[in-house]
């Protein structure tokens, strides 16, 4: 059988909805897919272990906690890429980081517990790498909710 199969894909879609705060939240999902609760949990664990989902749990909003998020970008020379990457990723404030095909080739999101933390962290990365960190805080959000139809 080729995995992820149809059931895995249906499950993946359900798992992108908000899990209820009930005693047995997975049992309700299992019923919707006509699976037993242990079979459903096995599948969720498999999807996570195989990397189809990188994480299952609460999505926290740093801004709502009194902190801030900021998308940042750097133009990193190819020869220095790995060294810069090590320095950037070592910071716990870096929540996500993507390489992109562009002159600005490193794009990362900072999540900090205070609004000032963004500038402090971005400035520290600039000092450490000697490269400019462009900052793109969101001014307005037009849609939220990452959904991949699997």
């Amino acid at each position: 059988m080729i995995r992820p199969d149809k059931t895995d894909r249906a499950l993946l879609n359900l798992l992108q909805e908000d899990l209820p705060l009930t005693h047995r939240p997975f049992a309700a999902l299992a019923a919707r897919l006509e699976l037993t609760e242990p079979a459903l949990l096995d599948r969720v664990t498999w999807l996570r272990d195989e990397g189809y989902i990188t994480r299952f749990g609460p999505f926290f909003d740093a801004a709502a906690m009194g902190g801030a998020f900021c998308l940042c970008a750097m133009a990193v020379p190819a020869a220095d890429f790995d060294a810069v990457l090590t320095k950037v990723n070592a910071r716990p404030e870096v929540a996500h980081n993507y390489e992109r095909a562009h002159r600005l080739n490193m794009w990362f999101v900072l999540a900090t517990e205070t609004p000032e933390g963004i500038a402090q962290t971005a400035d520290a990365i600039e000092r450490e790498t000697g490269l400019k960190v462009l900052r793109f805080p969101k001014l307005q959000e037009f849609y939220i909710g990452f959904r991949v139809a699997a």
Partner: protein, 161 residues
């Protein structure tokens, strides 16, 4: 809104993910010496204040075969961004859509819309739909494909004390 020390302990316990067991909130409560009711009440409160957006899976679109991931970026007039951003954000294939500041002269774009697909052709077709929608309001645009996930951990609180 700020979080207190119990919220903080709970966030630290859950930032790596929820345990994949039949009663995950009871399990977290056990680990932290709390009751399940305290855990679910706290989580409900954090949802209502927006500290928690939802409890869900973060899919890995590369692993799922969505290997073409394009950040489309557009330069539109500031006076029209609210109207146009709302229209683009409502497109079913746009997963994230934001207004962000330009960084002149390096970066003239102020509207960001994420588009994913199995191939770049598929992404380009969706990009063309956005271009059509913007029409003459589009002063410039670009697309940045992601070529590698370098880190994807989500929020991490710094350890205190």
């Amino acid at each position: 809104m700020s979080i207190d020390s119990t919220d903080r302990v709970l966030i630290e316990a859950l930032q790596g993910g929820l345990p994949l067991v039949p009663a995950p909130y009871a399990e977290v409560a056990d680990r932290l010496g709390l009751t399940e009711a305290v855990v679910t009440d706290r989580l409900a409160a954090m949802k209502s204040t927006g500290v928690i957006r939802r409890i869900a899976a973060a899919p890995n679109h590369f692993q799922l075969g969505m290997t073409a991931n394009g950040m489309t970026v557009w330069d539109v007039g500031d006076d029209r961004i609210a109207e146009l951003g709302a229209q683009i954000g409502a497109l079913p294939f746009v997963t994230h859509c934001y207004e962000r500041p330009r960084a002149l002269p390096d970066w003239p774009f102020n509207l960001f819309a994420m588009v994913h697909g199995e191939t770049r052709e598929e992404v380009e077709a969706k990009r063309a739909q956005i271009r059509d929608l913007l029409g003459e309001a589009r002063r410039g645009d670009d697309i940045l494909y992601s070529t590698r996930i370098l880190k994807k951990t989500g929020l991490r609180l710094r350890k205190r004390g």
